[in-house]
Symmetry: C2
Subunit: 150 residues, 2 copies
């Protein structure tokens, strides 16, 4: 699929998986909810925001933060599975991740997340927000047009 | 969730995401179908088999193979998303991946995959089979019991 279609598919997904690199070089994967802000011309195609909503007391849950502090390079994958394999598609976003400081951008990110997820309107995420500047979008669909998940 | 529960959840998932390390150190993610063979006592909890069913002419689709030849360390993530966040769960399997040579194990892997996916019975996967020896299983569920996806 082309980049515009990949962006549409990613924007429509309710969950994605964040891949980062652990200190020992292993890949680390965790599912994330997210919101996208599309950017104008330039190397950053879009910014993906995801909030850490893990229990703050649990250090294990914060491995993604430790990882991106050491190596900002991440990949995010959204995919659609169906028993009808003609409906399969996936989109991978490569980019650089950073934890947002308290800022206007953080406020915007939290607002975008609350707009997408009623669950966040009931209970805003406690954790920091990660911003990922997407510089590459690749995707694949079994059928030429792909299809949004229901 | 404990290891037995994590294994049950993984075994019930229809799709997972394979994370490997690209030559430049970036994380690389791709969705995979898979079958599990549970192992007895020992460091390997289970072996996850996944077949490459990409078009053989497309070298891009084989990046996962290049990656595991350079660095066998992979992570596999299965997760369940629901708008009812009390139903969320995920399982991550860490292990070592290798491409299987033509062998009894490859035959077994292809049989297990065909048992799980009618699509593979109609059309066996053309590509090589990757075997991942899972040495660590971690998981999380929003509700104590977790729940299988429907």
């Amino acid at each position: 699929v082309d980049q515009d279609r990949a962006l549409d598919l990613l924007a429509g997904a309710r969950v994605a998986r964040l891949g980062s690199i652990a200190p020992d070089g292993r890949p680390h994967l965790v599912p994330v909810t997210f919101a996208l802000a599309v950017r104008g011309p330039g190397p950053v195609i879009a910014v993906l925001y995801t909030a850490v909503d893990a229990k703050p007391k649990s250090t294990r849950q914060l491995r993604r933060l430790d990882n991106i502090r050491r190596d900002e390079r991440v990949a995010v994958l959204a995919d659609h599975y169906s028993e009808d394999w003609a409906q399969l598609w996936w989109v991978r976003a490569d980019g650089a991740a950073a934890e947002l400081p308290a800022s206007d951008e953080q406020d915007t990110a939290l607002r975008l997340l609350a707009q997408r997820y009623p669950q966040y309107r009931a209970q805003p995420p406690p954790g920091p927000v990660i911003a990922i500047g997407i510089t590459r979008l690749t995707g694949w669909a079994a059928s030429p047009a792909g299809r949004d998940p229901d």
